[in-house]
């Protein structure tokens, strides 16, 4: 996939196993969000190659069709919405019992009594909004959840709640593509891949990949160009 003749995602092969948490590590500008958008069908179409989900070629599917077969995305900077509540946001596509909504909020550390009727608007802090985003993904019970830096800018108190939400997601049977910079978050993954200049350089255990990432990518001078 190119943008202004510059390759953003290039000859990338990535396989997420059913039920696994697969972490993507990469420095800024390596194409992590673009990868998430390609899988979700947001903004970009690949020039070549395919996005296959459960054996089905979904490369040309629109966003909502992908969502309806079980893929969703927790956005890095989630949109704010006027006029509807967190409860309504979580119930967008699923009719949920109150207890189920409460479970989703508790899983990300948001006490339902305080957040149930809060608006999904600018009154939420950045961290709260990200946790609401995660709760809404949980509520959807997706087959594949793409989490685009949901831990970015999260304080140390909130981070365990985010991690807890991701663990809960897995326990409910979702596969998770976890895009992150945070090694604590990577640790809970089953596997991790290192992305650089739109290519997957290595895939392996989270521990190995974190170490490799530290030793190679973070000291890499040429952002967007693999060694």
């Amino acid at each position: 996939m190119t943008l202004d003749d510059k390759p953003i995602i290039d000859d990338l092969n990535l396989h997420v196993e059913k039920g696994e948490i697969h972490a993507i590590l990469g420095t800024n500008g390596t194409g992590k969000t673009t990868l998430a958008y390609l899988i979700m069908g947001v903004d970009y179409l690949p020039d070549d190659g395919k996005v296959i989900f459960e054996g089905e070629d979904i490369t040309r599917y629109p966003i909502s069709q992908r969502a309806n077969i079980g893929i969703t995305l927790a956005w890095q900077e989630p949109a704010r919405f006027e006029g509807f509540t967190i409860r309504e946001y979580l119930e967008l596509t699923n009719e949920l019992k109150i207890g189920e909504i409460e479970d989703c909020l508790w899983a990300v550390g948001l006490p339902p009594s305080q957040f149930f009727n809060r608006a999904v608007d600018a009154s939420l802090s950045g961290g709260e909004r990200r946790r609401v985003e995660l709760a809404s993904v949980l509520a959807m019970k997706p087959k594949l959840a793409i989490l685009d830096e949901v831990d970015s800018g999260i304080d140390v108190v909130s981070l365990p709640h985010i991690i807890n939400g991701i663990v809960k997601m897995k326990s409910l049977g979702s596969s998770v593509l976890l895009i992150t910079h945070n090694e604590d978050a990577v640790e809970m993954a089953n596997r991790a891949s290192v992305l650089c200049a739109g290519k997957i350089l290595k895939t392996g255990s989270p521990k190995e990949m974190c170490q490799w990432f530290r030793q190679n990518c973070q000291v890499c001078d040429h952002i967007n160009m693999p060694e």
Binding site: V42, I63, A67, W75, G83, L92
Partner: protein
């Protein structure tokens, strides 16, 4: 002008307008409770009225409408909102409402007014309001309109409002069900020291509706604060123009204008004209506006939850206008 007797009910029109009122989302129980002050006006006739302790309500029938005087006595905090219902049930008609409201010092009241014209084909509804809010008084006014599906109506609400020291005024205007027709709002609020004013309007334009809103706030007293918030969604071939003016004329005044107009459809037009004036070096006026298409990110977010494009637009618009 005569004082209205408690629970005066006349004419067989009453059940019809109450029925229309309920269909427009109103709470009809309010008109049967002796504890709730209320007034129902059909065309130029007062069909029912009730006043409660602390409120003086007078009306006078005029050739094409009704003159109403509502006074909330000093220091009275009215427990339940006052319910007003104005309407015309036939397809044609003219209704002119002269409304004088006086919220005396330290008094507090909410008014919920419904203006109902469900069959409007050729109707004019004018309201001229003169509102005085005393020192330390609080007045919350909510006006909900329903104009039916034909669009044959002109609505011209004009109001001059004076808010006393440390007074509070909140006004919400809502026209989101059915057609708008032609709407021309003109409000001017003058604020004394440390008063707080919030003016909110939400309007959903369809077909060839015309929406014109003009709100002016004069922050004349030290420390006065105001917010003008408009949410307008013109669709189809409808047209909207929102003018907000805030004049910060005294020290430590703060004015903010927040305008969102979402255009849906190739022929709909939205225009926003903010005017911010500060005549004092310790005053501040701010403005934010978003005019144009629906936010792409909001759309994509909702679609990533499984909504199709039309459903996503519907959810976003409903939220904006709620």
């Amino acid at each position: 002008m005569k004082a209205i007797q408690n629970m005066l009910t006349i004419k067989e029109e009453y059940p019809e307008i109450i029925d229309a009122y309920e269909k427009a989302g109103g709470n009809k129980e309010a008109f049967t409770s002796k504890e709730v002050a209320s007034l129902v006006v059909h065309e130029s006739r007062v069909l029912s009225a009730n006043q409660v302790e602390g409120i003086r309500l007078k009306s006078e029938q005029k050739k094409q409408g009704v003159a109403i005087e509502l006074t909330v006595e000093e220091g009275r905090k009215i427990k339940y909102p006052v319910y007003l219902c104005f309407g015309i049930l036939p397809k044609e008609g003219l209704q002119e409402i002269d409304l004088k409201i006086n919220i005396q010092d330290y008094a507090e009241v909410s008014i919920i007014a419904h203006c109902i014209f469900p069959n409007a084909v050729n109707i004019i509804h004018k309201m001229d309001a003169d509102i005085k809010i005393g020192n330390n008084a609080k007045f919350y006014y909510s006006e909900i309109h329903y104009h039916g599906d034909f669009g044959g109506i002109k609505v011209i609400p004009r109001a001059k409002i004076e808010v006393g020291e440390k007074g509070e005024f909140q006004n919400t205007f809502s026209l989101i069900e059915g057609r708008v027709g032609k709407l021309h709002i003109n409000y001017e609020v003058t604020c004394a020291a440390k008063s707080v004013v919030e003016i909110v309007a939400k309007v959903y334009g369809k077909e060839d509706d015309v929406i014109k809103m003009f709100d002016r706030v004069n922050l004349n007293g030290e420390g006065a604060r105001s917010l003008i918030k408009t949410r307008v969604v013109p669709t189809d071939r409808s047209w909207s123009e929102v003018t907000g003016e805030t004049y910060a004329n005294a020290a430590y005044t703060r004015g903010h204008m927040d305008c969102m107009e979402v255009v849906i459809g190739k022929q709909a037009i939205a225009k926003s004209i903010p005017i911010l004036v500060a005549t004092n070096d310790k005053a501040k006026v701010t403005h934010e506006a978003a005019i144009g298409s629906i936010d792409k990110k909001q759309m994509q977010t909702l679609m990533s939850r499984g909504l199709d494009e039309d459903e996503a637009v519907d959810v976003i618009v409903k939220g904006i206008l709620r």
